[in-house]
């Protein structure tokens, strides 16, 4: 008998430990569930962490209103299957209430507008721990983030003033009004996520696998055409065989040409890819050198 864990088993054990720690120490956690692959894995781990007891916290989706229908369908199916409680923080409602202003022009995206409804929902529900599926390998600012990321009463992240995080001794203490963002998948990479999806048979929205879609080229990326997009001169819509590496707001999530229809094929594709997933598919990160850091400072996940 060998007492060695594979890297996936070690990552799973660590994530489950973190999720259980939060549930034990903080009385009002919530799990952000977008229907994307990372939150799908995080939810799978959370279910494992407490099984056979039901999830001891609700799920929350920050809904931009510009969603891929396949993702919303998947979200609702998962919620129903688990009998979980879903809270929807709506960007559309925030716009309608005049709390945030919709961007204009063909590159307009609601991505940045998610922060306000998220913070408002955290405050309204009194959540003090918010699980997110962010991974440190995704982006250079995220490489600096703690597993327990302290946020002040404005939800702000201060990268210069983070709590040292030693051993597996996480510090969840906070004052009323402050909260923690918790990232149980911090140490996972895109490849780990896909290998785990394969190993555990985690269901995903269909758009993670190959399909035919109306797309157009912008900034070197393949954007999905939708009624939320306005075209710029010279842009034309064609139908191509694609899949998504990440899913987010339709207006800023691009797809990649792909014929991968199984997890094994996706793993082969991810292994061979010479472009990061965010580089391949996120228009919002290209806004500036520090786009992610800027958003995170404001309270984004």
């Amino acid at each position: 008998m060998s007492y060695e864990l594979s890297h996936l088993e070690a990552l799973e054990a660590e994530s489950i430990f973190i999720i259980r720690e939060v549930a034990a120490e903080l009385d009002r956690p919530v799990l952000l569930f977008s229907g994307g692959k990372d939150s799908a894995v995080m939810l799978h781990l959370a279910v494992k962490a407490f099984w056979p007891a039901p999830l001891p916290f609700p799920l929350m989706h920050v809904d931009t209103g510009h969603n891929f229908p396949e993702v919303i369908q998947y979200r609702d199916e998962r919620v129903a299957e688990l009998g979980a409680r879903l809270i929807v923080a709506s960007v559309q409602e925030a716009i309608d209430a005049g709390k945030v202003t919709e961007e204009k022009g063909p590159r307009a995206s609601r991505n940045r507008l998610q922060t306000q409804p998220l913070l408002e929902a955290i405050e309204k529900n009194g959540f003090n721990a918010v699980f997110g599926g962010a991974r440190r390998d995704e982006e250079k600012a995220r490489a600096k983030e703690r597993v327990y990321s302290f946020r002040d009463e404005f939800g702000q992240w201060d990268p210069k003033n983070q709590r040292p995080e030693l051993w597996a001794l996480y510090n969840g203490r906070h004052r009323r009004g402050e909260h923690l963002r918790v990232f149980p998948l911090s140490n996972w990479t895109e490849l780990d996520i896909w290998q785990y999806i394969g190993r555990e048979n985690v269901a995903l929205p269909s758009i993670y696998y190959t399909h035919r879609r109306e797309v157009f080229r912008r900034d070197g990326m393949l954007m999905a055409w939708s009624p939320f997009m306005s075209m710029m001169p010279g842009e034309t819509v064609t139908t191509e065989t694609v899949r998504f590496r990440t899913v987010g707001d339709m207006t800023c999530t691009a797809c990649v040409p792909s014929t991968a229809s199984t997890v094994e094929q996706v793993i082969a594709e991810v292994t061979a890819s010479r472009v990061t997933e965010r580089g391949a598919s996120r228009a919002d990160d290209k806004f500036s050198e520090t786009a992610m850091e800027d958003r995170k400072r404001e309270g984004y996940f």
Partner: protein, 421 residues
């Protein structure tokens, strides 16, 4: 595939960023868009070469100042292993950052500039790695290209460091001559240093034996929580304790003792998410069901009868102070987190402050400031169930939290129960 966590140490000019950049680049872990972004920024800043350090310094303030502010974590893998690098900045708040990075590391990599040899901070980094009981230490003698790949230089540095390290508690020490800039002996073997017969850095990282670093003898299972489905008819009788194994091996049928109550019972079953396990070992997260219904809650610990951890409210420990705004003094009252136990602690005595450069003990010290290390006696409000840190890094470590600001202000390593109570 196994997971290896390592921490890097070295000052800015030792070429740490270049080495990490080189490891990532040569293992094809830097992708085209990341490289393009670094090239773009290097060009915009007027750098003469593509500055791989930009890949590592992800924050705006870091790029502005050209310094690394805080620990960052990097990932790469080869066919043999997956690696997590704790990239700790060398010169700013060094001890605190290195303690943070080293606390979870299987291996510490210390860089030395071949032209400068063993410096005060080389000794400091080595001392911290030994204090934190990082099981494997690698001294990389970098910039060999600038000393004409001279074996004599390497041998002198190796000998000097070996002499110094005899004062420390280092069990596995390796020396590798490299040039991070040229890639010599990092991923590929250098033809310019034919005199060096050892492995390349990557080969060493891929093959260093870490499986036996864990304790498989002394059962340590701190209870994280109780899993008891309230209403599910199907799981009417289900009651299990959740937690992560920090030592030992558990099998159904084994006799276990519960601390603090001292009751003994047997393990009925082990499982995770409905999947039964024949055995569990560190660092697995599992559910444990016991034969008898006992009063067990979070913070309690399962162990084997006859082989318990020490239970005491009086603790002798080394503490590294992490706060820049407060000091640790005799009489300080703090919150303490140890395994899954939260309690309060009072500093009964500060025995000495240890100079991390000279290892001199200052017994007149009145308090510990940021980045200082000292030996203390603590009295806690409830007993903690612990082992010496040298025997188990998980049951021997704790953090101290300021109850006013909630900041994590101290990192502690337990020497044993205090004798001066």
């Amino acid at each position: 595939m196994e997971l290896l966590r390592f921490a890097t140490a070295g000052s800015v000019d030792d070429g740490k960023s270049t080495l990490i950049g080189r490891l990532l680049y040569d293992t094809k872990s830097i992708l085209e868009d990341q490289l393009a972004a670094v090239e773009r920024t290097s060009h915009a800043r007027g750098d003469e070469y593509v500055n791989l350090a930009l890949l590592l310094d992800g924050l705006k303030a870091e790029r502005e100042q050209g310094i690394t502010i805080d620990v960052a974590y990097r990932y790469f893998s080869t066919a043999k292993r997956k690696f997590i690098i704790a990239d700790t900045p060398g010169h700013l708040q060094y001890t605190r950052n290195m303690v943070t990075g080293a606390s979870t590391a299987d291996l510490a990599l210390i860089l030395v500039d071949a032209r400068k040899g063993v410096l005060e901070q080389t000794r400091r980094h080595a001392f911290i790695a030994s204090l934190l009981r990082v099981p494997h230490l690698v001294l990389c003698v970098n910039k060999m290209d600038l000393v004409d790949y001279d074996q004599g230089v390497f041998d002198r540095i190796r000998e000097e460091f070996r002499q110094f390290s005899m004062k420390l508690d280092v069990s596995d020490l390796s020396f590798i001559p490299i040039s991070a800039l040229g890639g010599d002996n990092v991923v590929t073997r250098s033809e310019k240093m034919a005199w060096y017969q050892g492995p390349t850095l990557l080969h060493h990282l891929e093959n260093v034996h870490i499986a036996s670093d864990r304790d498989l003898i002394h059962l340590r299972f701190p209870v994280q929580g109780v899993i008891r489905p309230a209403s599910a008819k199907k799981f009417h009788d289900y009651r299990a304790y959740s937690g992560q194994l920090l030592g030992g091996v558990m099998r159904p049928g084994d006799e276990v003792m519960v601390m603090p109550s001292g009751f003994t019972t047997r393990i009925k079953s082990l499982e995770l998410a409905g999947k039964p396990l024949k055995e569990a070992f560190p660092p697995m997260s599992v559910n444990v069901s016991l034969e008898e219904e006992l009063d067990i809650s979070r913070g309690d610990m399962l162990c084997r009868p006859g082989n318990p951890p020490t239970a005491s409210q009086d603790i002798d420990a080394m503490v590294c102070w992490l706060s820049d705004s407060t000091q640790l003094n005799s009489g300080s009252r703090l919150a303490i987190k140890h395994t899954t136990r939260m309690a309060r602690a009072m500093v009964k005595n500060l025995h000495y402050r240890l100079d991390v450069n000279t290892l001199h003990r200052d017994e007149q010290s009145s308090g510990l400031k940021l980045n200082e290390v000292g030996r203390v006696t603590l009295r806690t409000t409830v007993p903690l169930f612990f082992d010496e840190y040298r025997r188990n890094r998980s049951t021997g470590s704790f953090i101290l939290v300021d109850e006013g600001t909630n900041a994590t202000v101290g990192a502690g390593m337990i020497n044993g129960p205090a004798v001066d109570r």
